[in-house]
Symmetry: C2
Subunit: 330 residues, 2 copies
């Protein structure tokens, strides 16, 4: 096994976020489940957009956000994802590259448009996502850059990829390449509704092919169909080599073989928009892990990055996470 | 003269802002004059965008921002401006309409794209703009909605329109319609470099056709080629019925015939991004004026709106300005 060129290579949906504010009644009226991601078709995007208030456009995508976070810590990251040759595709490519992440997947022409997610933020800071995937899942076998995957210490994949067969195939191919190259494979469960859609396959993956599992409380409860966090956490610990479980304002719990760590959340003055909280926690954790830090420090780096991203609109850090970490001696 | 349907109708460039952060050296390297707006061609936009860091996209345009501010105070506003039938055009139209502003100018097809401004914000919060006008100036005579202009108490025009002959023709046509309908005509000088480009025409307009003049300190100094603010202010007072002069952190000065008022700036905890400060000051002032408030109150409403917009990224208010004003008893 040769030395890794990248700390982490991520594969996920390449999405531009369209972020606006609304009240809880608006979500109910439009059939959106608060705090979740739902997939919608182009016509739903259009009517929802017509109804919602003024918005801002910012690059997003769960794994893409995580890769940007790793770069903001000073780690080396690459991203594989599909955009179209259109305005949003150019925005996505610009933002991820200028954040220091390697992004070489060629844009698709003449197919569906670049993916977009209408993200509605309620007064409590919670985000609810309505995602039109567009061209994003069209990551067929020929487009997963095997060489890139082989040169990363960790390959990081999002559960959302299972929502479309082409993306799922890319996910499985990438995991196989990584395993054969002796690299670690990390998975984020993405969303509890997504877990409900793919529970059996996710369990199979986690028990067989995944080295590092990221999940929040709702996702791990959904995976094991458990009622108590402690029960789900025990099962996750039994099924994985490394399980990283986030609990929002309750902090996070990490299990690594015999070791376990409980990490307090980083204090936040005001929660503006929770979009990207889990993505940035994963960024801090994976950065720490590939830098050889103890799991508790990895968790603290995760909490630090999550706190930064929920203190402003948008799912990507506005500050140098390396500086924030240094200021705390991490 | 029939009763006005709108408090203000504004005519200006219809722009989507692409806002990113940079340091002062980046501006020097790229030949941008800090604090100013420069017009650039498509290839300069492309190379500057390639070089700049991650950005967010938000609707902008000077007069458009002012109209959104008036609506945020509870006033009635309409906007005339040209976008293309493209992604940025849809974003612009969505944002201004959902903010409560009437916007009925049809998008152009098959011509240039929607205008965009690369806005670079330095650590001190100052913004420097690089604007590609695209289809925006193509407001020819047939497209200025005469009926709309006649139904507004005030027609508000931006100096930037003078930078392109088609837009200038629309400006002059709109001013004529307003004068004939017995409405007031207001002008913003936009930018001191813009004043340098059109000084003689601006002076002629101000002395003949403009009822309300908005200018900041640099602009009014440029207009009269004066060195001291007091000299320029005295000349503005002699040339106009109502002159509204803003001075950044020094507040504003208003001259209305025999009356004069000096208004303190609204305190701001932290200046994040000055984009839109002048636009929102004009919004507060025009809202107050059309609501029949004394000039000093108009100035305080302007200061309040400016303070809100410079406390966050982007040129449009994030809060209800009506609520902010009510909380201060204005």
């Amino acid at each position: 096994m040769t030395a890794a060129k990248y700390d982490v290579v991520g594969i996920g949906n390449a999405i531009v976020d369209i972020i606006g504010r609304c009240n809880d009644a608006f979500l109910v009226e439009h059939g959106a489940s608060k705090g979740h991601m739902r997939l919608v078709e182009a016509d739903t995007v259009k009517s929802l957009y017509d109804d919602m208030g003024p918005a801002v456009e910012m690059s997003g995508g769960s794994v893409a956000n995580t890769m940007v976070g790793i770069a903001a810590f000073g780690g080396s990251a690459a991203f594989i994802g599909k955009v179209a040759d259109d305005e949003f595709g150019r925005i996505f490519a610009h933002d991820i590259r200028s954040a220091g992440v390697t992004f070489t997947t060629p844009p698709a022409s003449g197919r569906a448009p670049t993916a977009r997610s209408l993200i509605l933020v309620t007064p409590d800071g919670e985000r609810t996502m309505n995602t039109y995937l567009g061209v994003s899942p069209e990551l067929d076998h020929g487009e997963v850059d095997a060489e890139l995957i082989r040169t990363a210490s960790v390959v990081y994949l999002e559960g959302y990829l299972f929502d479309r067969p082409e993306a799922k195939a890319a996910f499985r191919q990438a995991a196989d390449i990584a395993v054969k190259a002796g690299r670690q494979v990390a998975l984020s469960l993405s969303d509890s509704f997504c877990v409900d859609r793919h529970r059996a396959e996710f369990l199979d993956l986690i028990r067989g092919h995944i080295d590092i599992l990221f999940a929040n409380e709702a996702e791990i409860l959904a995976l094991y169909q458990a009622k108590a966090f402690e029960d789900a956490a025990r099962m996750a610990r039994g099924d994985t080599k490394l399980a990283v479980l986030t609990r929002g304002s309750k902090g996070s719990v990490i299990f690594s073989g015999e070791k376990a760590a409980t990490v307090a959340p980083e204090p936040v003055r005001s929660v503006v928009d929770t979009t990207g909280a889990g993505d940035l926690y994963a960024a801090g954790f994976l950065y720490g892990l590939t830098a050889g830090k103890p799991i508790e420090v990895c968790g603290r780096l995760g909490s630090l990055a999550a706190a930064e991203v929920i203190s402003h609109m948008g799912a990507r850090p506005e500050q140098s996470l390396a500086k924030l970490a240094a200021a705390r001696g991490l």
